[in-house]
């Protein structure tokens, strides 16, 4: 067996090893920490690409940890969608990390940057694990690692707001994982299996015998992943957590972490529950309506925010609604839109949080009202903000339009005209709070005496790269769309 066969496990393991080494390395040679983590990201990216190549050659495959096949062992499943997620996680993780290299020096004390790197590696590793695993309990373990790591990269900046937000996040995320564990218990009770595929095979028989158990489990799963991914009424932790965290943490939390929970929910809904079960219980409808509420209310809450980062955080609640809408519509084109939006939103929200970080670092301003004329002093950064804002609204030439387009087309194909209206309405709502900032930033004069602090070129470079990517995926979406179409056709058979 060649080394390539082990890539699925290695992607996760090298991040974990990196996280374990980091405290030692930081004590020994602190300058080596950042290059080591960069190297791990690059290695993981290379491995993910190699997986993709192998998928094209041979189709989906499985990896059995410890050579134990299910039902005994943990199984990793590698298919196109999962590799798509891993590519996004590792690739954008690398991008945000490059930004973090310079930003952290500004926001954190030097002694804790080593720990930050360790947590970052743990976070990306556990998210890759969540994307690849095919086992309910293994998913739980990765969820908990991811939960702790994401709380810790908030609380590592020891301000009062961060600690409080982090505690709130921790309690609600513990509630989420508690619910998920209960759901596993309920499912294990009636099927005796933990592997996705084996549960799927055992469920129809069990559903006849113990329907109540499965109903409860379904509800718990929706609550669990809804809490983790900030589905509308369960979003209360998100604004504080994402707004008070250091900017790189905000970018990775808003850009990647909530997406991976949405993806896990998708995995469970589509690969654990058989289609007959999904028709008998209106899971998709519930997710769809909650997503709709989230899309509308997230934007409405965002309008009244005074703090820039809080506004972006509320906007994330609205945007994750699109992903859930794709899942809820249960229609291939809409799913395509949802999955494309995972990439798009990760890019643009990551970039917008980076922009917020640069503005705060350069001028010390974080209130929306104080951003008048900021385009004159930070032109490139504000152009990036403009591109991000346009993409949120869905103006042609940006990625946001493409995903909304496919979502709307999917809604039309599913004969749900109402949701097309929701999408259009939400674009208007987005315009209401993004456009004034952009207009004020460029058309009003800059007031303020204090000099603008210089910003590292690396940070501006990362933002520029993000801006180019947002435009690229808006102008030339074809490769990703073709890939996703094939992936969805292969994976779901729709």
């Amino acid at each position: 067996m060649t080394l390539q066969h082990h890539f699925p496990a290695l992607i996760i393991v090298i991040f974990l090893i990196c996280a374990f080494i980091m405290p030692l390395l930081f004590r020994w040679r602190s300058t080596l920490c950042a290059p080591a983590l960069l190297l791990v990201h690059l290695l993981a990216l290379a491995m993910a690409v190699a997986l993709l190549v192998r998928l094209y050659a041979g189709g989906p495959f499985y990896y059995h940890l410890g050579n134990w096949a299910p039902p005994w062992g943990i199984e990793l499943k590698i298919d196109f969608l999962r590799v798509y997620m891993v590519l996004i996680l590792v690739g954008l993780g690398l991008w945000i990390f490059v930004y973090a290299l310079k930003d952290l020096a500004h926001e954190l004390k030097r002694e804790v940057t080593g720990w930050y790197y360790a947590l970052y590696a743990l976070l990306i590793g556990s998210m890759s694990g969540m994307a690849l695993t095919n086992d309910m309990f293994n998913l739980f373990v990765f969820m908990e690692i991811c939960g702790i790591a994401s709380c810790a990269i908030i609380s590592i900046k020891e301000s009062r707001e961060c600690l409080e937000a982090s505690f709130k996040y921790l309690i609600l995320s513990a509630m989420g994982t508690g619910c998920y564990l209960m759901a596993i218990a309920m499912i294990y009770m009636v099927t005796g299996q933990l592997n996705f595929q084996l549960i799927r095979e055992a469920l129809p028989a069990a559903a006849g015998l113990y329907p109540n158990n499965l109903l409860v489990a379904t509800a718990l799963i929706i609550v669990a992943f809804g809490t983790k991914a900030a589905l509308f009424p369960l979003h209360v932790w998100l604004p504080d957590a994402h707004a008070s965290a250091p900017s790189p943490s905000s970018a990775v939390l808003s850009g990647l972490v909530i997406k991976i929970y949405a993806f896990s929910l998708f995995n469970i809904l589509f690969f654990v529950f058989p289609a007959s079960f999904r028709q008998a219980v209106p899971i998709n409808e519930i997710v769809l309506w909650l997503a709709t509420l989230g899309i509308l209310f997230g934007s409405i809450f965002a309008m009244v925010q005074e703090d820039l980062k809080k506004m972006l955080a509320y906007s994330s609640i609205a945007q994750i609604g699109y992903v859930f809408m794709g899942i809820g519509l249960n229609q291939p084109t809409a799913l395509l839109g949802g999955f494309y939006h995972i990439l798009n939103h990760a890019l643009m929200k990551g970039m917008l949080f980076m922009v917020a970080g640069v503005i705060i670092q350069a001028t010390g301003r974080r209130r929306v009202k104080d951003l008048n004329g900021i385009g004159h002093v930070l032109p490139l950064v504000m152009i990036a903000f403009t591109v991000g804002g346009f993409s949120m609204i869905g103006i042609p030439g940006t990625g946001g339009l493409i995903s909304k387009w496919y979502l709307a087309e999917g809604a039309l194909l599913a004969n749900r005209l109402f949701f097309v209206i929701v999408i259009v309405l939400s674009s208007l709502l987005n315009a209401v709070y993004y456009l004034p900032i952009i207009i004020n930033a460029f058309l009003n004069p800059y007031e303020g005496r204090e000099p603008v602090k210089p910003v590292s070129r690396l940070m501006v470079g990362a933002i520029t790269a993000g801006m180019i990517a947002v435009i690229f995926f808006g102008v030339y979406p074809k490769p990703v769309i073709v890939f996703l179409k094939a992936a969805l056709a292969a994976v779901i058979g729709m």
Partner: protein, 123 residues
């Protein structure tokens, strides 16, 4: 009557669910941060109880490999899963408690309502 009989047979599950709801309710509604952490543990423990109860068979032997004649083993898997769950629960608890210590240092209280009051007074 049928329902009552089912309940009497499956009282483990009933207890587990009651504990789960108690934990969840306290965690979400109580303002004392330490009590939230305790409630989180109650909630986790209820799930562990349910899991272990699933794996138990009346009269079964502990799953250690030895000669047990006509006897049978209980299911070892839930035990192994719960051990993992306990480890995870311990680490979350420890992290939550260290956060509470820090919060106490900044605000001088562990009551969420008082913290909100302090913050609103400062603004």
């Amino acid at each position: 009557m049928e329902t009552l009989k089912n309940l009497a047979h499956n009282y483990y599950y009933l207890v587990a669910v009651v504990l789960f709801v108690i934990g969840m309710h306290t965690m979400l509604t109580h303002s004392n941060l330490i009590k939230k952490v305790i409630a989180m543990n109650i909630m986790d423990t209820s799930v562990f109880l349910l899991f272990v109860a699933i794996g138990y068979i009346r009269g079964g032997q502990a799953p250690i490999m030895r000669d047990i004649g006509d006897g049978f083993y209980i299911n070892p898997l839930p035990g192994a899963l719960i051990l993992t769950g306990i480890v995870v629960g311990v680490s979350v608890t420890a992290y939550a408690l260290s956060l509470v210590v820090k919060i106490y240092r900044y605000y001088g209280t562990v009551d969420a309502d008082e913290i909100v009051e302090i913050r609103s007074r400062e603004q």
